[in-house]
Symmetry: C2
Subunit: 218 residues, 2 copies
């Protein structure tokens, strides 16, 4: 795997989309699919699709297309959702709770939520779907005792960098950040941002500058 | 405004970031800032910053830099957050509620939430922060009587396209979509997606392929 070419963010971002569409196709009982057919469904060009999938070894056969189940399983492996991850949520406000309860982020999907943290007196000590919310002061000790792969950061902006430092120190491998700031962290820790404000402002920008709007790009 | 050059998505996505940093700088009482100083804070290069801001007329003066308050106000206007928007939320599950309660999406920020919709018997009729949740069956009639600029789509995937069609028909101008699908809609309606699954899978991909991870890019 170490000799494979570097894969661009754009390609990586399209993999979940392929995975999603292959799931839909598979649910309909379809066994094989051509890049042309995938193109029709996804809105991407067939050549783009072939190129993307070639990054990972190219599973298709000329004149046959792709075996839907096989390709889906391969992409599952590439994305890493055939594995399981220990995750914690920092900040159990509205966003934190929504992410915690988000079906795509559950044990069924390979994510074991092993800890919830907050500072709010009304939340700390409360049990939510089988997990007790702990005080954030316990985070450092918790990370010494428990292997954590992913931390959801859904705290107020002001404390996010400080908590991020504790997470890095505690060997957390990836941070799913919902706080509205640019975290500073070593390259060995993966950061994925969901910046709601930037998303909303992109929407308002295009509402006011429709001539710049590129349209929907799948 | 109609003769200005087309602005790329990448630039548009950086504007909220500038706006956020200018807010922080302004809060510290700083009156003017150079592109070099902005570069240090944002992690973008000074030339990138100058180029970005030049798209909108370039507010800086050689040797003086930018007036913080002025630049912030200008970006506010460019992003369109000096205006107010009527918004509705479709789907008052965990994500819908979190977005509804998100401070950046409130009357203070120029977003008037004028309607909430769901199908759940336990939710319909309930009042939440001053808005009564209505049955989604009322949506079509509602849109005939009430001007709506932005609809948050946080329903299950299966009904999202159908509701999207009703929104388009009802003259909604922008859709902030949290459902995990690629909506089809005319180019005159602005779509902004927050695909949580794609974000999470990007994180797991890089956790498993750290050699591909580009690092944090502000």
């Amino acid at each position: 795997m170490s000799n494979k070419p570097r894969v661009s963010l754009a390609v990586v971002k399209r993999l979940p989309k392929y995975y999603r569409y292959l799931g839909l196709i598979s649910d309909r009982g379809i066994i094989r699919v051509s890049s042309q057919e995938l193109s029709k469904i996804t809105g991407l060009t067939a050549s783009q699709i072939r190129q993307d999938l070639n990054h990972f070894g190219g599973f298709g056969q000329q004149g046959y297309g792709y075996n839907v189940e096989e390709l889906k399983n391969e992409i599952e492996k590439i994305i890493g959702i055939d594995k399981s991850y220990n995750a914690i949520v920092l900040g159990m406000g509205n966003i934190g709770q929504a992410i915690y309860k988000y079906p795509g982020f559950s044990e069924n999907s390979g994510f074991n939520i092993v800890g919830l943290f907050d500072v709010d007196k009304n939340l700390v000590g409360k049990t939510m779907l089988g997990n007790k919310i702990q005080h954030i002061d316990k985070l450092e000790t918790f990370l010494k005792e428990q292997k954590v792969d992913i931390a959801v950061l859904s705290t107020p902006t002001e404390v996010a960098q400080e908590l991020c430092d504790i997470l890095v120190e505690g060997n957390v491998k990836g941070i799913w950040n919902f706080a509205s700031l640019d975290l500073k962290l070593p390259k060995s820790v993966v950061l994925e941002n969901v910046h709601l404000d930037e998303s909303l402002f992109t929407l308002t920008y295009y509402l006011n500058n429709l001539e710049d709007y590129p349209g929907t790009k799948n």
